[in-house]
């Protein structure tokens, strides 16, 4: 008969039933109500927290903002060094016009008879650059004549520029784009307006109230 430590016959140190029962008993332990904190779980808690802290920090630094187009862990996207894209003022202008201006002036540019003046064929739009820029920058209050029709001024033109009291705070570029757009749309044929010109007028007038028709007519 073989001895108990014969390498040819690996003996068991415990029966299967007792193995299962012993381990079940260990899992069913009562909570540690007397606060007999064991050292091991505390040490593991710190070690595991350390690993998780490292993991979180690493991901935070090298995730590339989870951008599928970022291939470099330092976060530079493939097109990061390219020059900023030049935007077409007509596209930007149309987008802003459709979002905001068309509420009153309509997407046809014809306005609403007696309330909102038309932009299509309007001498205010296609005429003096300074006047149309001023209207957008600081707004317009009071009656106005457009294409020989009198508008009593029931609705005021809001303030769009980056000036005190503005509800829109549109950048000079955006205002230039919208004006450029309306000056060539609906059969209008006037040249583009630059953001520099808008900025120049904004600085010149600074903090002022809405324009009136009389004040505008004094502008060149």
């Amino acid at each position: 008969m073989s001895s108990s430590n014969d390498p040819r016959l690996p003996q068991a140190g415990a029966s299967d039933e007792s193995l299962l029962a012993a381990h079940e008993k260990m899992l069913g332990k009562k909570p540690d109500e007397q606060a007999h904190y064991k050292l091991l779980p505390l040490v593991l808690l710190f070690v595991f927290s350390g690993i998780i802290f490292y993991a979180g920090t690493y991901l935070n630094h090298f995730s590339g903002n989870y951008d599928p187009a970022v291939f470099d862990e330092h976060g530079h996207s493939a097109s990061g060094n390219a020059a900023p894209v030049k935007l077409d003022p007509i596209v930007v202008g149309r987008k802003s016009y459709e979002q905001v201006c068309s509420t009153c002036h309509q997407s046809t540019g014809l306005g609403l008879a007696g309330v909102y003046p038309p932009l299509a064929g309007s001498e205010w739009v296609t005429g003096s650059e300074e006047r149309v820029i001023s209207i957008l920058l600081h707004g317009l209050k009071g009656p106005i004549h457009v294409k020989g029709v009198a508008f009593p001024g029931a609705a005021a033109m809001p303030v769009f520029g980056q000036v005190p009291g503005s509800g829109y705070n549109w950048s000079d570029e955006k205002i230039a784009a919208v004006i450029t757009y309306i000056r060539q749309e609906w059969g209008n044929k006037a040249g583009p307006v630059t953001a520099e010109k808008v900025a120049e007028l904004r600085k010149k007038e600074g903090d002022r109230a809405e324009w009136s028709e009389a004040e505008l007519l004094k502008l060149p």
Partner: protein, 473 residues
């Protein structure tokens, strides 16, 4: 010799073991056959690594096909058969009743091995795919999926029909492995071969499959055996057992997030690689818990415990190594070198195989009711496994380190790199050959035991073990 004194306790070797003799013998025998085939192919493959002209005139044995055949034989031949045999036996033992529907497993094993054979022939004839860990030709892949499901049937029945409502860590790992692999295999088949995803996504899916095969299939199979064998042999309950569930879930949940581990520096979104690096670090939680739970393996014991201890050592070192080599600054040197190979060898030959071989040494005498014929052969196998694995891994690491530094230096030509690593590859070849010899001895030993007639009193050769005391911690 003590005999069973109380009838309620099952004898140490009972009909739970002997009823599965036929199926388990077939699975293990096929596993060993594939182990020898893959060992032989690995030797040939290593020879080609430093002598490119070796067998180069023969298309069947060109470098690429040989490597694909070797990998397929070791994973789908050796690891699958052996791991499933051990898992089925474990689930039967822990359920407390003999395996049911063994015909399914027998038929499944037959078709599985037929599929792997066809697959190897297909690869040799140039029908293989270019996917890591899934070089099998298209036509055998669905067959393997069906055959696997059939083999797993008795295991699932043993799990659902277990006598106790409680579950043990071994069962979690074994059942997880049984259920997860079909998901991995079918998802990889569809996404890579039958309705392939496009572009860089293929590399990501491939990386996911490779990592999942390790972390969700092979390692759980090995851990199932280790979690059973260590307390079973030492007779002491697992220390800090209440952490084992955390260890299990960290492996299962975080394991396949390491998918981007081998894509460092590749054309994939940076967050994917960062996430893989972080997951490798988080897996250290799992490795620490396994080390705490199974430290009993490193106490003195018979050859089975020594095999398991060596396997666990390789497993833990491999986990730490993974967390280090996946870091971007280290991967710059180690990636695409022999170090990748060393890591695979440590995981497969070291961690998985050593534990599973230990389990086979433990279970097969119980299944046959006989002792192994020779103690010397077992010792010889233990030494060849330990020395062979360590020699293979270390020489590949050195070769890989040299290769990595040379590759980073544009002044060094490929021919020079090959010359610099050549001597270390000779060492690796010797170690690989030693492993092959040891495994051949194991196969012969297995055949001798399998061919002995079951002794009438075979069951009584096992001493009735004492009951396990629940320990305080």
């Amino acid at each position: 010799m003590t005999t069973a004194s109380h009838a309620a306790v099952t004898a140490e070797a009972s009909n739970i073991d002997s009823s599965a003799r036929c199926t388990l013998s077939f699975l293990i025998a096929s596993a060993l056959a594939w182990l020898l085939v893959s060992g032989l192919l690995a030797v040939l493959h290593l020879v080609q690594a430093y002598d490119a002209s070796f067998l180069a005139h023969c298309p069947i044995f060109t470098y690429g096909r040989l490597g694909a055949m070797q990998e397929t034989a070791s994973i789908y031949g050796w690891a699958a058969n052996a791991g499933l045999a051990v898992a089925l036996w474990l689930l039967a033992r822990l359920s407390g009743s003999p395996l049911r529907s063994l015909n399914w497993a027998c038929g499944g094993a037959l078709f599985w091995n037929l599929g792997v054979t066809l697959g190897l022939v297909g690869i040799a004839l140039g029908e293989g795919t270019s996917t890591s860990f899934l070089h099998l030709p298209y036509f055998v892949q669905p067959l393997l999926l069906v055959a696997y499901a059939a083999i797993a049937v008795p295991g699932v029945l043993a799990w659902t029909g277990r006598k106790q409502s409680m579950t043990f860590a071994s069962q979690w790992y074994a059942v997880a492995a049984l259920f997860l692999f079909p998901w991995l295999l079918s998802a990889a088949q569809v996404m890579l071969h039958f309705a392939p995803v496009r572009g860089v996504l293929q590399a990501i899916v491939e990386g996911w499959y490779v990592q999942s095969v390790w972390y969700l299939w092979l390692f759980p199979l090995a851990l199932a055996a280790a979690y059973y064998l260590v307390p079973k042999i030492t007779g002491r309950a697992i220390p800090s057992y209440d952490f084992s569930a955390l260890g299990f879930w960290t492996l299962i949940v975080i394991g396949d997030w390491t998918a981007g581990r081998h894509l460092v520096g590749g054309p994939v979104p940076a967050w994917l690689v960062s996430l893989a690096i972080v997951s490798c670090a988080l897996l250290l939680v799992h490795f620490i818990i396994v080390a705490l739970n199974l430290r009993g393996a490193f106490s003195s014991g018979g050859p089975v415990l020594k095999f398991v201890a060596f396997g666990l050592f390789s497993y833990l070192v491999g986990g730490l190594w993974d967390a280090v080599t996946c870091m971007r600054s280290v991967a710059v040197i180690t990636q695409f070198t022999w170090i990748d190979q060393a890591q695979t060898q440590l995981a497969l030959t070291g961690a998985f195989s050593a534990i599973v071989i230990g389990a086979i040494y433990f279970l097969f005498p119980r299944v046959t009711g006989q002792a192994w014929p020779s103690a010397t052969l077992i010792t010889a196998h233990l030494f060849t496994t330990v020395i062979g694995t360590l020699g293979l891994v270390l020489s590949l690491v050195v070769a890989g380190w040299i290769q990595g530094h040379d590759l980073a230096n544009p002044a060094v030509s490929f021919a020079d790199i090959a010359a610099h690593t050549s001597s270390w590859l000779h060492f690796a070849l010797a170690a690989q050959a030693l492993l092959l010899v040891g495994n051949a001895l194991f196969a012969l030993h297995f055949i001798r035991l399998a061919c002995t007639k079951p002794a009438a009193s075979g069951v009584s050769v096992f001493a009735q073990p004492p009951a396990m005391e629940a320990s305080a911690s």
